[in-house]
Every structure is written in structure tokens, then in C-alpha cells.
């Protein structure tokens, strides 16, 4: 009786141990050939600053369109564009904050 409870707790804690970014982004992007790091650099190339990058990303997540995608035509033609997100604004913001902190260039250059 104790074993299944422990197993459940481990599983549940495992799910909750993952942050919003890992839960909502990494899962799907794992299957794509371009890393989230490369995609981040593409966003950086177009949007520059933190607020601008986050706003651009959020807009694309909510209203994905081929015309406003930062990815190459070849990529879009091969993998298509994503579906509209079903996440709440706060979930998106949380995930984007983590995404930014993970890949931002600040303090990484030497």
C-alpha cells in the first residue's frame, strides 16, 4: 500500500519539479532539428531588447503566422507553423521569463 503512494508522490513531484518553460516549450521543441538556443538567437537578431523579444515571442505564440515568423522559409515549409497556444497569459509570461534568463547574452560574453 505504501509503495504505490510513494510512486504517485514521486511522479507528481516530478511533474511539479519541472518549470513552466520545460513543461510548455521543451516537450514539443525536442522533436525539432533547430534548438531553442538557435531560435532565441533569431529572435534576438530581430527584436534586440528583452521587452521587445518577449513581446514578439508572446505575439507569435498567440497569433502564429508565416509572415511574422523569424524562422527561414525552408524551415516553415518543412515543419509548418505552430498551432495557436492554449496557455494563459501568465503561463506564457512565466515560460518566457525563464526562456529569456536561460539564453540571454548578458553576462555570458568574456
Amino acid at each position: 500500500m505504501v509503495k504505490p503512494i510513494i510512486l504517485c508522490l514521486v511522479l507528481v513531484s516530478g511533474v511539479f519539479a519541472q518549470d513552466a518553460y520545460e513543461r510548455h516549450c521543451v516537450e514539443c521543441h525536442k522533436e525539432l532539428p533547430t534548438s531553442l538556443q538557435r531560435m532565441f538567437m533569431r529572435y534576438l537578431l530581430v527584436y534586440s531588447g528583452e521587452q521587445n523579444v518577449k513581446a514578439g515571442l508572446k505575439h507569435y505564440l498567440k497569433y502564429p503566422l508565416k509572415e511574422i515568423s523569424v524562422m527561414s522559409d525552408l524551415f516553415i515549409d518543412t515543419y509548418g507553423i505552430k498551432e495557436k497556444t492554449k496557455l494563459s497569459d501568465s503561463d506564457i509570461d512565466e515560460a518566457l521569463d525563464i526562456y529569456w534568463d536561460k539564453f540571454k547574452v548578458f553576462n555570458k560574453l568574456k
Binding site: 534576438l44 537578431l45 530581430v46 531588447g49 528583452e50 521587452q51 560574453l109 568574456k110
Partner: protein
Amino acid sequence: MLSDQRAMLTKYAYIQTKRLKVLHHFFDERTEYPRDPRFKSAIYDLEHMKIFSLLEDENVHFDDEEIYISNNHIHLVKTLDDFYLGTKYLIIEVEDSGAWRGEIWKNIIGYGFFAFIFFLLFGLYLAKLFLRPMRDSIVLLDRFIKDTTHELNTPLSAILANIEMMDTNVMVEKNKTKLARINIAAKTVSVLYKDLTYLTLEQEKENHDEEIEIKELIYNRAEYFAVLAQSKHIECNLDLEEASITMDRRKLTRVIDNLISNAIKYNKRNGTVGIQLREGMLVILDTGIGINEEKLPFMFDRYMRFNDSEGGFGVGLSIVKEILDEYHISIEVESKEGEGTRMVLRW
């Protein structure tokens, strides 16, 4: 110049942009910011957040000009079109040695000097070109006056000499008066003639300074103008003491002639002309029409005439002033309109 620095810094910015592009594509396997011994640089994002900086002077102005000097450093703020590593603003910094300022001054002085010489020569050429007709006409007028005054001398001398020689005792009273008038007219013209010849011919002649007994000279000149004074029933009061001055006789004569003839010309009928001579001082006073106080400062200007009742060119007093200035003789004029004028010469 700062524009030369701008060209150099723009070239550096171009080089650094290419390096950032490469770094962007290899981030984050490569994280070493590109460095260059020729300049320092920094990158800022759209929100003016510093991404990375090697600047010595971190005081960056984003909204001012593209290039500026701050704390002995020149900054070039280059805006990128592609935001490599998120870079919107690339700052290139070099030390401001001030050498370019020296270069500027050298250029300004060098080119300025040549420009100045060029414009000076050009200006002289233009002035000469434009002034030629005026100069020609002045030379023509001058020559005309010289010729005419010279031609006037002979007939005038003949008239004056013949008047002197005439025997007035055998004349009837009516003719005597007429002769006196001719004498006055001839003497007036003579004074005018002498003024004009002084201006045109004798002015540049060398001075023959000598010790002159002024008393004697004044007697002579007063006698010369006596006929003129008599015609207006003017009384001449001479109060002369011995006095002398070292001067060109010709010039002193012009001064005395002009002052006495003015005192007579602008006097009232039955007026008085007084001449006082002391050592170092000559006073000539009249009871004439006087001069307005406001006009006094202009009375020695050439061609300045306050009264058209008498003939003349308005050159007399300007000649007087010129001669007095040459010999450092002061002249003081006291005048009251309608009451008379008092001129005091001191040397």
C-alpha cells in the same frame, strides 16, 4: 578634423559589426567578445541595456549626435540594422589625443592665409578697376583747376597793379567810389585765387620756415583789406604788440588773410573788427552775424558754408585749420549768433 575621425570610426564600426555577426552565429560555443587594439567598443540593446562593454568612458549618449567627445574620448554611436547578439547600438571609442585639433588650426591658418592674400589681391584689383573712372575725373578736375587758376593770375595782377597806380586825385568822387568797388572785387577774387592755388599747387610745396614779425605782417594785411572794410564802414581796432613765430610766411599770410577777410565779410555795416596781438597769442574779433553754437564743430570742414550772402567756396577756414594743425597752433572760437565771433590763436 572630427569628420576625419568619423570616417575612421565608421570603418572600425563596420569591422566590429562583421565580427559581431560571426559571434552571433557561433554563440554560445564562442563567447569571447571581439577585441581590437585600435579601439574599444561596447554593445547596447534596444532598451539601452549594456550587453557588453570594454569602454574606458562608460558615459554613453544615445540621443545626441552620432559622434561626440566626452572625457578625452571620442565616441561613435552606430545603430545596427541586424541586431547581432541583440545589439542595437554599437559604441566605438578611441582616445582623443587632440592632434586633430592642431591639424585643424594648421589648416585654418594655412588656407585662411592663402584665402586672405587672394581676396586682398582680388579686392585691390576690383577697387582699382572701379575707382579708375573716379580717379580719372578727379585728375581731370585737378588739372582744370590748376590750369584755370594759373591763367587767372596774370589778369588779376594786372587789374590790382593798375588800380594801385591810378591817380585818384584827378578823379571825380563818383568814379572814386567805382574804383574802390573794383578794388574790393579784385581783392576778394585775389584771396579766393590764393586759397585755390594754395590748395591745388602750393600745399605740397616744402615749407620755408623763418622767424616772422607778426605785427608787421598784420599791418600789411590790414592795409590790404582796408578798402574792403571801408566799403562796409567797418572800424578796425588794432592792438598789436611785438610778437614773432617761426613759420612759412606764405602759410601765415593765408591764415591771417582768411581770418581778417572773414571778419570783414561777415560783419555788419558800421561794425568793428578787432585784432589783438600778444606774444604767443593772436585774437581776431568781429561784431558780425556770429555762428550758431550747434554748427561750431563743423566750421572748419571743407566746402562748409553757413551763409550764402557772401561768395566763396567754403575752403578758407579748412585751409586755416590745416595750417594751424601743422604748426600745432590751437584755435579757440567763441561765437554768439547776431553778436559776433572771437577767434583766439595760441602757440
